[in-house]
Amino acid sequence: MFEITEKRILNPTVEEITVYAPNAAAKAKAGQFIILRTDEDGERIPFTIASADPEKGTVSVIYQIVGAGTRKLSALKQGDSLHDFAGPLGKPSEIEGENVVIIGGGVGCAIAWPTAKAFKQAGKNVTSIVGFRNKDLVILEDEFKDTSDAFYLMSDDGSAGQKGLVTAKLEELIQNGQKIDRVIAIGPLIMMKFVCELTKKYNIPTIVSMNPIMIDGTGMCGGCRLVVDGKMQFACVDGPDFDGHKVDFDAAMKRNRQYLDFEKHKYEEACNLLNKEVDA
């Protein structure tokens, strides 16, 4: 059993939990992820490691409530325990390039922030561009400011930071002649796709973090497969980081929608279940 030692609400749909998991904490590196299960019959849910404290034996993850599994997780409080917590999984991020731009989109910021932190700690020059739909969804603003030499907050409606997309800001920086050795983009597939189209034009190496639907996370099921450079790759063992200029985003977008109907149905069920509990 893995105890939740701390819980933080970051915004109405995003939370952070810190979990006592000494095995995972001892080895966790930026870019790696864990898989947890809330209860004995629960789904295996992958989350990126947001931070780890090997001394305390704890690992934190930041998650957005999107479906039945994350809703169940959100119902747990500090002091409750998770049934399973496996990790670290996946390859750590390469911390390369002196001048990097880290782009986070929406909850992808939860995945991007530990990467920004790792680059900063390695003494690199970090520019962060984070984008959200509106101000209610903004997360980790202070954390990003702390780990960035320059920080830009963007929102679709202009209610937080500047109005516009992260790609617009990136293009502006490029055109202003900012030296960029590497871009790391983490967020919705569509965002990563457009970032990559832009950086390809300017020949800037770009790494993306791919989060396809996973089950085991150990390379056993092939459910997380992606097409990268025309070849099949398993995101859980070959990634999750890939060369963004080689990823087939269109195929990945289709695969991520696989279980939409089933999940909608389970989500409604979980909602009904929780509502019932509330009623009782």
């Binding site: 019959d41 049934h83 089950i215 150990t218």
Partner: protein, 461 residues
């Protein structure tokens, strides 16, 4: 007087029409009377040809003689001398190509039903409630086992009996390996696997689940942490694909994914939160046990199922009984066909599989006749689900993270005659060494490695 009936006592089974709507065990097992009667068909041959056909050399005529006398406990003791998972092997061994293939009764009629008797004896003892195993006197040495499949479980059990402090590290949340995530409930009830694991816990074996060796700790780090020897039984879990156009479409699964969702994550249960597609028409590619299991799971989800295999019925590598059961369940065998492309709809979901007809040509290195495509014979099978069951390879993670561990060109760990790898103190066995094989051979390798590890550690003192 031996019973000279030519055929085996038939195995009682659930009616096919009924069983395609449930996940209960298909074969329900012999009664004591049936077992005694079948045991009497054994001639107790002096030269025991059957024993040589068993990868762990179970003392077959001796245990069968006990069954014939109604001494099931005595029979179990004899089996236990060489095998640690009889309830499992009795169910899933390909007996027709192992022990039973050599049985003299098989020359004129059907062989003695060795597997069914083995299963009966093991089930009898489990249901009766065996006396819990006693922990051996600790010998003060610590060893680690990587992977909780049949190879790892067997090695762990044997080492624990010798007094070692054994820790099994398993990547998934439940120990059992393929026995748990691959082979379906209706063929191997999970309660039986869980029972075997509980017996190991009684022996003092520690299980650490959710632990991926190579990521959470490398083998070198484990040895630095005080594990004096390591057994690697990490299996061959990496699914192969054919690199067909359209293989990335939704609705195209590896057999491992489909079976994991269905078995380990219990998608057969409507209350489970694991999504699985309920297909209407499924194409399963392959002809081994894995293909049969995937086909029969899809059937139980209500689908029409076609098994597409590139050779003929004769070459189907699956256990004979499974093929027969699959046919009874209405699974259609489209033999001498091979897929060449997967066709999708506008949503990126599979809608059909394009196949080509095959014919058998000259024999290849394996001695089987090589299937060759018939030019211009392409045709289309409509399907909303496709399951690739064309084999698996060892996962590269362990070899990538363990310097000094050599592999052959198929990625299988290289071991000597004592199951020792190219790295001192590290042993390996099962599918990680042989590539996808059988439960009994994995178990046999685990046994052999445990004995060799004991010798290695004893001589180091």
């Amino acid at each position: 007087m031996p019973n000279m009936r030519m055929d085996k006592n038939p195995m009682p089974v659930q009616d096919p029409e009924v069983r395609i709507h449930n996940v209960d065990e298909v074969a329900t097992g012999y009664t004591a009377e049936m077992a005694i009667d079948e045991a009497k068909r054994c001639l107790s041959c002096k030269h025991k040809p059957c024993v040589a056909g068993c990868p762990v050399n179970i003392h077959i005529p001796e245990f069968i003689a006990r069954v014939a006398e109604g001494d099931f406990e005595g029979a179990y003791e004899i089996i236990s001398l060489t095998s640690s998972l009889p309830a499992i092997c009795g169910r899933v061994c390909p007996q027709e190509s192992q022990c039973e293939a050599r049985c003299v009764r098989g020359i004129k009629g059907e062989p003695v039903s060795i597997g069914r008797l083995e299963r009966f004896v093991a089930d009898y003892m489990r249901e009766k409630g065996e006396t819990p195993a006693v922990k051996a006197e600790p010998n003060g040495h610590k060893v680690a086992v990587v992977g909780a499949g049949p190879a790892g479980l067997t090695a762990a059990g044997d080492l624990a009996k010798l007094g070692y402090e054994v820790t099994v590290f398993e990547a998934l949340h439940t120990p059992g390996g393929v026995l748990m995530y691959g082979i379906p409930e209706f063929r191997l009830p999970k309660a039986i696997v869980a029972h075997e694991i509980d017996k190991l816990k009684d022996l003092g074996v520690e299980f650490v689940t959710n632990f991926v060796v190579g990521r959470a700790s490398t083998i070198d780090e484990m040895m630095d942490d005080g594990y004096e020897a390591v057994f690697v039984g990490s299996g061959a879990g990496l699914p192969n694909f054919m690199n067909l156009p359209g293989e990335a479409l939704n609705g195209v699964y590896s057999a491992n994914e489909f079976l994991t969702r269905y078995n380990l994550m219990k998608a057969y249960d409507e209350n489970s939160s694991t999504p699985i597609q309920h297909p209407t028409k499924t194409v399963v590619v392959g002809g081994g046990n894995v293909a049969m299991d995937a086909a029969r799971c899809a059937r139980r989800l209500g689908s029409e199922v076609h098994v597409v295999y590139r050779r003929s019925l004769e070459e189907l590598p699956a256990r004979k009984e499974e093929v027969e059961h699959a046919m009874e369940e209405g699974i259609i065998f489209d033999l001498l066909n091979n897929p060449v492309a997967v066709l999708g709809d506008e949503n990126g979901h599979i809608k059909a599989v394009e196949c080509i007809k095959m014919e058998l040509g000259e024999p290849d290195e394996s001695g089987r006749r090589r299937p060759v495509p018939v030019e211009g014979s392409n045709f289309i099978i409509d399907a909303d689900c496709m399951i690739m069951a064309i084999g698996t390879s060892p996962n590269p993670l362990i070899r990538q993270t363990t310097p000094g561990l050599d592999v052959n060109r198929r990625g299988c760990l290289i071991v000597d005659e004592n199951e020792m790898t190219t790295k001192d103190g590290v042993y390996a066995g099962g599918d990680a060494v042989t590539g996808a094989a059988t439960v009994i051979s994995a178990m046999g390798a685990g046994k052999k490695a445990a004995a060799a590890m004991h010798e290695y550690l004893s001589s180091k003192e």
